[in-house]
Symmetry: C2
Subunit: 343 residues, 2 copies
Amino acid sequence: MIKIAIDAMGGDNAPKEIVKGVELARNEIDNVEFQLFGDSTQINSLLSNKKRIKVIQSDEVIKMEDEPVRAVKDKKNSSLVMAARAVKDGSADAFYSCGNTGAILVAGLLIIGRIKGIDRPGLITTLPVINNDTGFTLIDCGANADAKVVNVYQYALLGKYYAEKVLKINNPRIGLINNGTESDKGNKIHQKMYQALSQNDDINFIGNIESRGLLDGITDVAVTDGFTGNAVLKSIEGTALSMINMLKDGIINGGFGSKMGALLLKDTLKKIAHKMDYTKYGGAVLLGLRAPVVKSHGSSKAKTVRNTVVQIEQIITSNFVGSVKNYFSNHTDEMDDIKKGEQ
Amino acid sequence: MIKIAIDAMGGDNAPKEIVKGVELARNEIDNVEFQLFGDSTQINSLLSNKKRIKVIQSDEVIKMEDEPVRAVKDKKNSSLVMAARAVKDGSADAFYSCGNTGAILVAGLLIIGRIKGIDRPGLITTLPVINNDTGFTLIDCGANADAKVVNVYQYALLGKYYAEKVLKINNPRIGLINNGTESDKGNKIHQKMYQALSQNDDINFIGNIESRGLLDGITDVAVTDGFTGNAVLKSIEGTALSMINMLKDGIINGGFGSKMGALLLKDTLKKIAHKMDYTKYGGAVLLGLRAPVVKSHGSSKAKTVRNTVVQIEQIITSNFVGSVKNYFSNHTDEMDDIKKGEQ
């Protein structure tokens, strides 16, 4: 039985949508047990039944605006910290929260801890691609804004195992986001990243890629430093949302003909909305830790929570963490060489 | 009379669409004289009349795949280099090409040269915003991938003058692209950029901004290093294009009802296409040089060429370069202080 420790108080719609999503997942998946940390009175009143669900009382909540390091340090009885601690103690296999992103990352790093050999964990998100269903996976989406060559090198390996094990992509293509596709493109550090990645025979490195082609499926995994990755992720999200809003506004303000047109186009528009809905891939995962640490957006509803539970179940079942541990324990010299080359 | 030196051989549709676009602009704008550099036989055969158009023979062409620095050095009789040289010699006021981007930047920097006090020029592009017509202006879009604090500081000033003088935005808002809006966000260099920008009373600095909100009009000018700017620009372009293609595919493959729907929605879809069409703002401008150096996409058609000529006329008429020269000649100490602070 897989055990997932869930911060039931994190996010704008907690605990209601968290509990609802957990029940949806529980009714579909047999091999998962849920540990819900939070206000037990509230949670119990929301549950329709407690089959494979344990409710654990926590007296504090880390708020969205709390300073992450201080919050994790000070609020030891918060649902977020208690859920992370359950993983650390071995009573759960994964930690999931829709709460304060910074606090989730800090709790993952400080409480659950890194896999030996990994210098900095990386945050990944899987986003849609027009012509396939496996999307593309972006790492790092913002855990590490000051990335060194060795960090990005490790992200490529983490991305490879995630795409292979969890998304079931055979020999996934790994591309480095750069300002052109030629091998000498980019600033000094990105040129060094290219060199390091092209020397690793364990990954299917396809070279430099431009962010323009990501939604067209030019790669399975896009690796980048956390600063660029964050800007790319938010640019894609913002543009997609703005275009959908423009279409909605155009339909609403376009008179009868336009409303009729939208009605006739309903299936097409629904398909596009479904295609662009990246919550179907679950949440963002902090990779490189001893157990999966997963966050989904603060505004998540039950469906996203359900999808994220499915994702976590796949991460655990695939033994992603075991594969990564195995690789890094056998490649310590390789990492040392890259660090030396950087100096 | 404003004189624009144009590389008539640059781009995928040269010289035909360049000549066509120049004639469109010439028929609308009275105060511009055009100097077309290229194969004079071809160009002359395409021109319907030569009013305010001079054709200057050039025997070479810089190709899209040529290595920029070598091409500018070796192909002195190319249309691109000759057009840039016309500006350097004072026989033209601006240089425009749809050709090899790298070669345009190199020719601008090496032949036309920087304004005194500006360390590195920055490439700007104006992109659409849903709820206004002035869009937002992104600087640097990729001229300088290894940006220092002083470069981004200067981009903010260049962006301010461009938005104020050319786009006629009163007291334009300047935001720094970062991975969060709080003042301490970002990696070390972005934290220093924030500090420097917040100390300049000559700009309306609104602080850190996230790329998610750019199309929603959160700022008039978005400043960033050229690596991030390039990734943001290409992410926005790629996402917008992918979504439009998805809609088109959905309509084409959606049967009769969907085609009827599209017909009824035609005006709405046209409005969105017009809104997202950023060629209406002209091309990308390399700012910080002694004269405007403007490039538009290699695939540009006549309408984009026409729009870019309008943009160049506005840059010259507004005396953008004069205002920038004036600011930087009076603020040399300020730039020195920022460079000292960076060490």
